[in-house]
């Protein structure tokens, strides 16, 4: 084990995969400037600065992936993906199926999002659900340095297009990462971060920490919460969530992304469909507001569900009081 930040874990994974597979290359606006280490190790041909043109950066990654390379496209911040949507949604996500399976798209796109830097809604927009909804794409959004390392390696090795989102608020968070170069975390497996009997708290990225903090507070109050880190948003590990709900009978989904048609909605709907018999209380969603994340520090903080709000919501499930509307909670 070595202690490192999420950012270090990410680039260690990329460097390991580039060393392992000569077909892997990385491109983006400034990647060759910012990662001299990769240029020195793997050469300018495999570590490329690009023009400021997300549409063709993504399209080039898609075309190259279908032609034998394994590109990683660093698109910087999630809202910039709006320029890359045709290549990702209409080409990478659809041309395998539309062609009757003739093409394969082993590519990874990287993007930052989430609160933490007060950069406002044109840099901070948790739009991962758009890509979960679109067909043919996989979506990863880890919470620990070890998972950033292991899931990035899995994403690079995966035969399908993977959107890899990094929560800005976690970028410099430290944790233990296995030294073993063969450390890979398979896509599509959630992690139970804290076992519990009474209620299931589901989160991903920075809200995993929120759920764990809430669970500690709840423990003191005699409520034993199980905390699940989704890690991969598509394919979604429904079994782990459903098993937990079957056991606890209560589910609270906590996301920084807004609620409407978000991942929280999917988890809640899935439970109401497949674990209904086990549910003993309403399924709650605590999410970011349905609003563009503002830049002001105090406002940005308020867009993230806080542990006390999770605690209050869970207590509501055990008491008689009705569930409060999710946003009000997020803003409380």
């Amino acid at each position: 084990m070595s202690r490192m930040t999420v950012e270090q874990a990410l680039y260690r994974a990329i460097a390991e995969e580039m060393a392992r597979d000569p077909r892997v290359l990385i491109m983006g606006e400034g990647v060759a400037t910012k990662r001299r280490d990769l240029v020195d190790a793997f050469g300018a041909a495999r570590v490329r600065n690009t023009p400021l043109a997300e549409a063709v950066i993504a399209g080039t990654a898609v075309g190259a992936a279908a032609s034998g390379l394994r590109p990683i496209a660093d698109l910087l911040f999630a809202p910039f993906l709006t320029y890359a949507m045709d290549a990702l949604v209409n080409s990478a996500g659809k041309l395998r199926a539309l062609s009757g399976g003739q093409f394969e798209f082993p590519l990874v796109t990287m993007a930052l999002t989430g609160s933490g830097w007060c950069v406002g809604a044109q840099h901070n927009h948790n739009l991962e659900a758009m890509f979960v909804h679109a067909p043919g794409l996989k979506v990863v959004m880890p919470s620990t340095p070890a998972d950033f390392h292991g899931l990035m390696k899995a994403a690079i090795r995966d035969p399908d297009p993977v959107l890899f989102f990094t929560d800005i608020g976690l970028l410099y968070q430290e944790g233990e990462v296995p030294d073993d170069e063969t450390h890979v975390v398979p896509l599509g497996r959630a992690a139970v971060r804290r076992p519990g009997r009474d209620v299931t708290l589901v989160g991903y990225a920075k809200t995993v920490g929120v759920c764990l903090a809430a669970a500690e507070a709840l423990a003191v109050q005699g409520i034993d919460a199980e905390v699940i880190d989704l890690r991969t948003l598509k394919p979604l590990d429904t079994a782990t969530v459903l098993d937990s709900v079957e056991k606890t009978g209560r589910l609270v989904v906590v996301t920084e992304a807004s609620g409407l048609c978000g991942v929280a909605a999917e988890i809640a709907a899935m439970a109401a469909e497949a674990a209904f018999g086990a549910l003993r209380a309403p399924v709650l969603r605590l999410t970011g507001p349905d609003a563009p994340p503002p830049a002001s520090w105090v406002l940005e903080q308020a867009t993230v569900p806080q542990p006390d709000a999770v605690v209050a919501a869970v207590r509501g499930l055990f008491g008689t009081q009705a569930a409060e509307p999710a946003e009000a909670v997020a803003l409380a």
Binding site: R23, L25, A45, R48, T50, P51, A53, A55, V56, A58, G59, T60, A61, V62, G63, A64, A65, A66, S67, G68, L69, P71, D86, A87, N90, S91, L95, R96, A97, L98, S99, G100, G101, Q102, F103, E104, P135, G136, K138, P159, D160, L187, G188, K234, P235
Partner: protein, 324 residues
């Protein structure tokens, strides 16, 4: 059929494309799916594809029949695809709008205007970085309308900056669906825009298959020599509507009539006759031969089975059964 028609095959290949599309029009008129035909643009497809080799890659768009047939695609499997049948090149999932035939090197066909331009640099980058056969290049076909999309410029700039082996082929057929291109761009826009990106640009009579071939062959040789991109603007005309059915009521009659007099098949036939290479009887034999092929193709397509509904999800992801 070869992936690379010899000069002596050009006329028959153009006739085959014309006959194929005439049959698709008939299919539509009898209730079949409507297609975007390339009637009037056959010389672009044949002239360029005949200058490519098997190792090269081709990207196309919604108006792909000519490119596919010139490359040697089986009209029967193409028709089966248009009809949504299991024997189609894409198993019926594509229909007419995104037919790709990887075995023939026709890859990643996209019907999103500009989609082919976003993907071509990656295909060429893979070639440059040692995937596929050495010296291979990528030819990307697109229209004058696609040149209005921002991705056109992003792709040209990247191809120049990264020195990618791409032959950009703009089939300027004067129309962008129901809008004449002069409503959307200045007269000389396409060549001027391309020139602004600093790569060699040529504007060619797209209805003269020999001229197109000569320009394409020279451009391909130049790309193989220095690895950098080249650009061809082929001036041509969409003789039928944007897609079937389309009464072309919005088309200026004189313009259409002028271009009809310059039909690429007539141009080539005249050239061959004047050069004494074929006579009218030979042309009639060729027409009969392609007609027979197309009828056989249509019969094959109509006899082809519908795909199984399991195919809807069979290829969404790489995993078993198309699952992630």
């Amino acid at each position: 059929m070869s992936v690379r028609p010899a000069p002596s095959d050009w006329i028959e290949t153009m006739l085959l494309i014309r006959a194929y599309e005439a049959r698709m029009v008939a299919f539509q008129q009898s209730g079949g799916p409507g297609t975007c035909t390339s009637v009037g643009q056959e010389a672009c497809a044949v002239g360029v594809v005949s200058a490519l080799e098997a190792r090269d890659r081709i990207l196309s768009n919604h108006r792909s029949a000519g490119h596919l047939i010139a490359r040697g695609a089986d009209p029967g499997r193409m028709m089966a695809e248009v009809l949504g049948r299991a024997d189609g090149y894409c198993g019926g999932l594509s229909g007419s709008l995104h037919i790709a035939a990887k075995d023939l090197g026709v890859v990643l066909t996209s019907t999103i205007v500009g989609g082919e331009l976003s993907l071509a640099p990656g295909v060429a980058l893979a070639q440059k970085m040692g995937q596929g056969e050495p010296g291979a290049i990528t030819a990307v076909f697109f229209g004058d309308g696609a040149a209005c999309e921002g991705i056109f410029h992003e792709a040209l700039n990247l191809a120049v900056q990264w020195r990618l082996p791409i032959l950009f082929v703009c089939e300027n057929n004067q129309w962008q669906a129901f809008v004449h291109r002069l409503e959307t761009m200045p007269e000389r826009a396409i060549a001027n825009w391309a020139t602004g990106h600093g790569l060699p640009v040529e504007t060619i009579d797209g209805n003269d298959v020999a001229a197109v071939h000569a320009a394409a062959r020279a451009a391909v040789a130049a790309i193989r020599a220095d690895g950098g991109p080249r650009f061809l603007e082929l001036s041509t005309y969409r003789l039928r509507g944007h897609n079937e059915p389309d009464d072309q009521a919005y088309v200026e009659a004189d313009e259409l009539a002028r271009w009809r007099l310059h039909d690429p098949i007539d141009v080539e036939a005249r050239r061959l006759v004047e050069a004494g290479l074929v006579d009218d009887a030979e042309l009639a034999r060729l027409r009969a031969r392609v007609a027979a092929r197309i009828e056989a193709a249509a019969a094959f397509a109509e006899a082809s089975a519908w795909p199984d509904t399991s195919m809807i999800t069979a290829h969404v992801f790489a995993g078993k059964g198309g699952q992630p």
